[in-house]
Each structure stands twice: as C-alpha cells, then as structure tokens.
Amino acid sequence: MIEGLGLLVRGLHTACALLVFGSLIVLHLAPQADPRLLR
C-alpha cells in the first residue's frame, strides 16, 4: 500500500517535470502558439 503510494507520488513528480518541458517544446514548435498551454 505504502509502496504503491510512494511509486505514485514519485511517478507523478517525474511526469510533471517531463510534461512541463514537453509542453514548452510543443509551444515552440507550434506555428501559432496556444496561450491555453501556459496555464
């Protein structure tokens, strides 16, 4: 149970870092930047 929770927290932490970086990359690739992504 605790181990599963630990994995989830660590996984989400990694996922957040990856998603922020990836979304910023898309913002730079997009011909017209979508301001929705910034929020």
């Binding site: 996984g11 932490h13 990836g22």
Partner: protein
C-alpha cells in the same frame, strides 16, 4: 503548464516525505529531514531541483503577464530542461566510477523523454482540438515538425537507454533473473507497443492529414496520440520504479532454469560452430522474409508464416548445440577476492576435505577413488567456460548426484567454499602455466597474477594490485641466503629497471630472516601465503612435478604486466635466462609498451 509546475513543486515535498520516512532512525522526523537535506546528496539534488522548478513557475508567470510570443517562454524551457537533466544526480548513475559519462547519458535520456512523451498531451490538444476550417493546415504543420523531431528523440532515448541498460545490468542473465531485469524487460515491451502506435501515426495518419480528404483525421490523430501518451505513461511509472530498484549488476542472480545458453562454453565442442552458423543463417533468412513482407513485396500472411517456420528451425538447429547445464548458483559472484591468502586457505581445506578422492595433487587418484563407480574429476585439467565459478560453488555446496560427490555445506562456510574455488582455479592454471617461459609472448595475457597484501621489512603496506596500470612488476621468490648474489645484481640494476617502467618485489619463500639493505621492497608479512600460492605456478615443460615432490623452488622470478597477468618466468634451475639482465630489461620494455588486452583478471572468473 503553470498548474503542472506548481503540482511538481508540491509533489517534490511528497518525494522528500517518502525519503524521510524511509530512513530508519529514532530521531524525530524534522531532525531526519534537516539532516537529509543538509548532509546528503539526495538533499542537495532535491533542493536544486525544487529551486529550478520554482524558477520555472516564476518564468511562466512572467511569460503569462508579459507580451504574447513564444520567446518569453524560453527561460522556463531552459530551466525545466536543466531540472530534468539534474534528476539522475541522486540516482544509480551517480554511483558509477567515473560518474560523469553515465550522468550525461542519463540526462540525455530524460531530456529526450521529456521532449517526446511530455509533448504528447499538448500535441493531442493542439491537433485533436482542431475543428475550425483552415486550422487543419496549421495542425498538420505542427504534427509534421514534431514527427520529424520525434524520430531523433526516439533514437536518443533508445541509444541512451541501451547504454544505461548495459551499464546497470552488465550480464544478460541478470535481465531474466533479477527484479531490475524484469522491470527493464517490461519497459522495453511497453516501448515496442509505443513504437507500433508511433509508426501508425507517422506512416498512416500523417499522410492522411496532409491529403485532401482529411475529414475527421485530426480527431483520430488526437485519440491515437493520447493513447500513445497513456501507454508511455505506464512506461514512465515503470521507469520510476526502476530508479528505486537495486541495479541488476549489484543484485544476486538466482538462476531459475536448469540450462543456459553459452556460445563461449560450447564453441570448442564438435559441430557447435556449424550448427550455430546454420541457425544464424536461417534466422537471417527469416528476417529477410519478414522485411519483404513489411515492404509489401510478398504476400504478407504467407511470408510471415514462412518467417516463423524459419525462425523455429533456426532455434531447433542452434539452441541445443549451445545449451549447457545450469544451477541456481551458476551466475553467483565470488564473495571472497582472488588473493593468495584465500588460495592458501583453500589449499589447506583441499588437503582435509578433497584429498581422499581427488588425490594430493588433484589428479582424481586419491586413496578412496578406487571404490567409486565414477572416477573423481581431474582438477588439474583446464577450467573451461563450460563451468562457471558459480557451478563449482553449487557442487561444493550441494554435491553431485548420490555416490558421485557429497555436498560440503555442513562442513564448510560460504567463504571456505570460495577459498577452495580460488585454490582450484590456481591449481589448474598452474598446470597450464608450464608453457610460460623467459620470453614474453606479445599480446597474449591469460595467466592471472593472484593478488596479495603485504607489509615490507621497513613497515610499508601495499598490494600487488597497487602497481596496476603503473609498473611491470618483477616478483622475485627466493630462499634466504641462496639467492644473495642475484639480489646484489638486481639492486645494481634497480635504478635502470625503474626508469624503464619496472618495479621489483622480493618474496622470501622460507621463514629465515628476510634480506636487508636492498633498495626495493622485500615482503615480510604475507610472504608465506604468497610463496605457497605462487609455488603452484612452478611447473615447467621439462619439470612438471605431477606428484608434488618438489613444491617450492628455491628461486623463481615472474614478470607481471601492468594489467595483472603473469607474462614471463625464469627459474635459474632451467637455464641462464634473466641472469643476463639486459634480456630481462627487454622483456620489461615489451610489456611497458603493450596496451590493455584483457579486462583485469579478478573480474573474469570461469
């Protein structure tokens, strides 16, 4: 993005909390947390990453409030990239020696994964959400750009992942027999699934998007990208768990199959080469057929059936030829280092527990051998790759089938059994070492120089290993008094020998007072075991001494190369040899010039 960054910042505290509660300590949690933050590498890296994430949040707020345009988000992108690349600093890669190559590779892996996986939801939102007429072209351009970049990113992810996998797993059986290996295989399997989805997007849906008839394609693409994101999300979870698991190379392998495949072990057996090459040829044909099917050059269903049949025949031809019996301990690593103190202890244990059947000199001709149905093994034969050190450990522990050999688990500790194995390894290589002569055979190291610790007569401590990669060592074994003139000559030669890249280490072979006043070190403590061990390397082509009647030569000299292998030997009883000191210097010069050919012998046990 701002929400994600703030989420990441908060989850960072969750990760810190998990780490605090993982520390077993009687101290209150806030003390543990303070010490963790201020005194550990984890704490330093955690603080740096949180600071960077906070920086990302602020940079995003500035970009939101400031004028429109993507340039404003560059600082946030750079900061989040650095935060990602910094993550491995507190992981397994930081424990490697040297750390920076693996840290770089791991950093590239994460940044590439971020640029690819992290981008998928934004991409799905952009492309999938395009419903306005005319916006499809914009979506198509973004998708095209991302798709091109994704090929490079995937190559970086797979390449860096392979390097990380090879480093942390080290031996392929660990893939099948450790938790780390299982997780890594699961990760690879998920990646294959993701690649299939990516291929559909790239080669099916992207051309449809750019064609005239693209009704509903953007929605389809959005769905597929999101599905790819979800599968890869599981992959991220598996990768997170992998970061918390002991790397396979540091974990014990308990092998579960009664067999293993080894080309090394079976290559010299009759017909192995023929069958292995035939199998490889059949497998290549299968791959070619599958390739043709993929390209649409032949009928797909028939071609795939043919390829499967070819692959099955390849396995049927090659695998039985390279199959070797295996045990749970087959891949166990020795827990006792290969040193003379262990070999000497193993020799004593051999005399007590093994002499009866295997005989005093290991030929399998002990007094109790006559009554046995199967003759005991001749332990002086070369140790082939057919049996690993772990196999021998298993036999010593559990024995062989009833009536063949008893197990010694009750009588010998684990360390004792490794001592015995270290002795057997030296005994066998001692018989093969009879071909070693005064002249170095260039480029052919094979005989390990057993390491030893010593204290010299003037109190200096060291090991033979200390000379690795710096000097060629002349090991001089001598009986006190007998070799005095030789020592005088070597003392005169010593300055020249050192400037040529050599070093001398003298080891007395008896209990007499060690010679004094010499410019090179003379071993005082540790000499007995070292002399006993190296006496096993005394056999020559003209004097095999198969019955161990003259175990300790009065004077023997060995040249150990810079990488830990015995390369040449001189026994004064066998000829003039290195009495000519110039000839000795020539051999040293040859070894000084030689590059590393094999890995250090201690890592390479059969």
């Amino acid at each position: 993005m701002l929400l994600l960054s703030v989420g990441g910042l908060i989850l960072g505290f969750g990760v810190l909390g998990l780490q605090v509660f993982a520390v077993e300590s009687a101290a209150p949690w806030h003390t543990v947390a303070r010490r963790l933050l201020l005194e550990s590498r984890f704490g330093a890296v955690w603080m740096a990453r949180e600071a960077l994430t906070l920086g990302v949040c602020l940079a995003l707020v500035v970009a939101l409030l400031g004028p429109a345009g993507t340039v404003a988000t560059v600082p946030a992108m750079l900061l989040s990239g650095v935060a990602l690349a910094a993550a491995p600093l507190s992981g397994h890669s930081a424990a490697e020696e040297p750390a920076w190559p693996m840290l770089t590779v791991h950093g590239v892996h994460l940044v590439a994964a971020g640029a690819w996986w992290g981008a998928l939801p934004a991409l799905a939102t952009f492309v999938g959400g395009t419903r306005v007429q005319g916006a499809t072209a914009v979506a198509a351009e973004l998708f095209q750009r991302f798709s091109s970049a994704a090929i490079g990113l995937m190559a970086a992810i797979v390449g860096s992942g392979l390097l990380l996998g090879v480093t942390h797993v080290e031996r392929w059986p660990a893939l099948l027999a450790t938790d780390y290996g299982h997780l890594l295989l699961l990760k690879v399997l998920l990646l294959l699934g993701v690649l299939v989805m990516a291929a559909k997007l790239r080669w099916r849906l992207l051309p449809a998007l750019t064609s005239e008839y693209n009704d509903g394609v953007t929605k389809d693409i959005g769905r597929w990208v999101f599905a790819e994101f979800l599968v890869a999300g599981v992959l991220v979870l598996v990768a997170t768990q992998l970061g918390q698991t002991v790397p396979a190379r540091h974990d014990a392998i308990e092998w579960w199959a009664p067999f293993r495949f080894s080309i090394d072990a079976t290559w010299d057996l009759e017909s192995t080469a023929l069958r292995a090459w035939s199998g490889a040829a059949l497998a290549l044909l299968a791959a070619a057929l599958a390739g043709l099917a993929a390209l649409g050059r032949v009928r797909r269903r028939r071609a795939l059936a043919g390829a499967t049949a070819l692959l099955a025949s390849a396995a049927a031809v090659a695998l039985p030829a390279i199959t070797v019996q295996a045990f749970p301990d087959t891949y166990r690593k020795p827990s006792v280092p290969y040193q003379t103190i262990s070999v000497a202890a193993g020799a004593d244990l051999f005399a007590v527990h093994c002499n009866g059947c295997h005989g005093r000199s290991g030929h399998g001709d002990g007094p109790q051998a006559k009554g046995l149905a199967l003759p005991p093994a001749d332990l002086t034969e070369p140790h082939t790759a057919l049996h690993t050190a772990g196999d021998i450990f298993w036999w010593l522990t559990h024995g062989k089938p009833p009536g063949v050999m008893p197990g010694l688990e009750d009588r010998l500790s684990e360390d004792d059994r490794w001592d015995l194995i270290n002795f057997l390894r030296t005994l066998s290589s001692g018989y093969q070492a009879r071909v070693i002569a005064e002249r170095v055979v260039p480029g052919r190291p094979w005989l390990p120089a057993v390491d030893f610790s010593y204290v010299t007569a003037d109190g200096r401590a060291g090991t033979l290993k200390d000379f690795r990669e710096s000097s060629v060592v002349l090991l001089v074994f001598l009986r006190a008094g007998v070799a005095q003139p030789r020592l005088t000559h070597l003392a005169d030669l010593y300055p020249r020998l050192r400037s040529a890249g050599g070093e001398i280490l003298a080891v007395p072979v008896d209990d007499g007072a060690p010679p004094s006043g010499l410019p090179f070190p003379v071993v005082a403590e540790g000499a007995t075991e070292t002399a006993r061990t190296y006496a096993l390397l005394r056999r020559t082509l003209s004097n095999l001494d198969a019955r161990d009647q003259q175990p300790m030569p009065e004077h023997m000299e060995l040249l150990v190369d810079r990488f830990g292998y015995v390369r040449a030997r001189w026994l004064p009883a066998e000829g003039e040899g290195w009495r000519d000191l110039e000839s000795l210097l020539q051999q040293i010069a040859l070894l000084v010039r030689e590059p590393e050919i094999l890995p250090p012998p201690d890592d390479h046990v059969h």
